[in-house]
Amino acid sequence: MVVAQSQPAATGIDTLAHDVNGFMEALGIDRADVVGHSLGSMTAAALAGFYPERVDRLALLSTAVSFPKEAIDWLWDNVPNLSHPLDPNSEFMLAWFSNPTPMEEDFLTRDRAESASVAAPVWMGVLKAFTVLDWSLLATRITAPTLVMWADQDALFGAASQSRVREVLPAAQYETFPGLGHNFIWEQPMKAAKVINRFLAR
């Protein structure tokens, strides 16, 4: 007898972008600049590609067109085996939130705890969606001026992954942060803000 599991049915970037579109509608925001990090960057790209009227300028931080095999394999090795409620100080959670350089401890502790409280169906639903994601065809539909920011110690999205982004978004501006990781905006917020402010300035 199969036990039905309660999982959010739809966790792909098309769904997340649909939510953002609806959110903007609900808040009465016609258009906005959109800055996305990691999954948020893929969602932002989908918003720009599918709802171009919503997006002025687009900043994609630590993005990738598809998940590199090593990253997705590591996630599949770990995420299905997690026992909930998660311990924010478990080996996996510490690895998930590890960074090459130090950062504000108060922020990191709180963020990691909140990540640990994300429900199992969301961990799994997003993982399953990542596994079948390749948004290279979507990239050709993005017309918004785009900034792509990446740090070269990104443990999830390495140099090969970044080369692929450059192939599908040839017209974007690129900024690379040497020595920083996937969460470079947490490691060096002022450096990141300087670049983003310059890009968004009118």
């Binding site: 007898m1 199969v2 039905a4 999982q7 049915a9 739809a10 966790t11 792909g12 970037i13 098309d14 769904t15 972008a17 649909h18 939510d19 989908a46 590609g49 599918f50 598809s66 998940f67 095999k69 997705i72 639903g125 399953k128 969606a129 596994t131 079948v132 994601l133 390749d134 948004w135 065809l137 979507l138 539909r141």
Partner: protein
């Protein structure tokens, strides 16, 4: 000796009354297809319609149609699929199923099929999918392996080829509602290299034209960034892949890719037939499927 013959005779008579054979459910005619639909609502509130046919106590086979099609897509093949309980599902947004505002990705479709099987008390089934339905079937086999016995993928690919995606993006966002089933786009969408039953295809195309905008666009948006090649290694169900070599949507390169990803599957190509080869030659398709599905 005589006593034994009598008791055997009595036994035979007794048995024939003890267990009446379950009746076959006939395949509805084109005219009766819609009236034959039944509905269920899944645990998370999605209403799904379906048509049930064939041997009521046979092994269940789920039939999953393609993008903007509906369960009627199986109407010509179903009478030829022998000895099984056939359940042709209308995917969300299609046929008689509810069409919510969101969401129309393979994750939602596979989730619905799993939930449908739950509410129908079907633990496991053979699953036959066409096009979008084949991608759904593959996703089900990969992420809900306990649900799938044997897998049949008709006109499938692990992603939508660029040429096809471009053509759809050139046309689908420009559709005006209500869609004219005899418009240039709709005729192209339902074109086939060899003749297809006129009554069937006129009705199917008309029903496709009635599919609402959120579904036309929702599927297109969801499929555009989808590539399920990474989950092919999770598929353990014995698999049959059938393709028509005149398929204008999924090219030869897509099939070469598939063979690399699913090396253990059986492959059949129909020369001269198109994306909807089982409408063009239902007998040929049935022969392959019947031969594959173990009794």
């Amino acid at each position: 000796m005589f006593k034994m013959m009598v008791s055997q005779g009595l036994l035979a008579v007794f048995l024939s009354f003890a267990a009446p054979a379950a009746a076959d459910t006939p395949v509805p005619s084109q005219a009766d297809w819609n009236a034959a639909r039944k509905t269920v609502t899944t645990a998370d509130g999605q209403m799904l319609s379906y048509v049930e046919m064939g041997a009521a106590d046979g092994q269940p086979v789920l039939l999953l149609h393609g993008y903007t099609d509906n369960s009627r897509a199986w109407s010509m093949l179903a009478p030829l699929l022998t000895g099984r309980r056939l359940i042709a599902l209308d995917l969300r947004g299609h046929g008689g199923s509810a069409a919510p505002d969101c969401c129309y990705g393979l994750d939602s479709f596979a989730h619905d099929v799993n939930a449908f099987m739950e509410v129908m008390h079907i633990d496991k089934a053979d699953v036959v999918g066409h096009s979008l339905g084949s991608m759904t079937a593959a996703t089900l086999a990969a992420y809900y392996p306990e649900r799938v016995d044997q897998l049949v993928l008709l006109s499938t690919a692990t992603n939508v080829p660029k040429g096809t995606a471009d053509w759809l993006w050139d046309n689908v966002p420009k559709l005006k509602y209500p869609i004219d089933p005899n418009s240039e786009f709709m005729k192209a969408w339902y074109a086939n290299p060899t003749p297809v039953n006129e009554d069937f295809i006129t009705r199917e195309r008309g029903e496709s034209a009635a599919v609402p905008a959120q579904v036309w666009m929702g599927v297109l948006r969801a499929l555009t960034p989808t590539d399920w090649s990474s989950i092919t290694s999770r598929i353990t169900a014995p698999t049959l892949v059938i393709w028509g070599d005149q398929d204008p949507l999924f090219d030869a390169a897509s099939q070469t890719r598939l063979k690399e990803l699913l090396p253990a599957a059986e492959y059949k190509t129909f020369t001269g037939l198109g994306h909807n080869f089982f409408w063009e030659q239902p007998e040929k398709a049935a022969k392959e499927i019947n031969g594959f599905l173990t009794p």
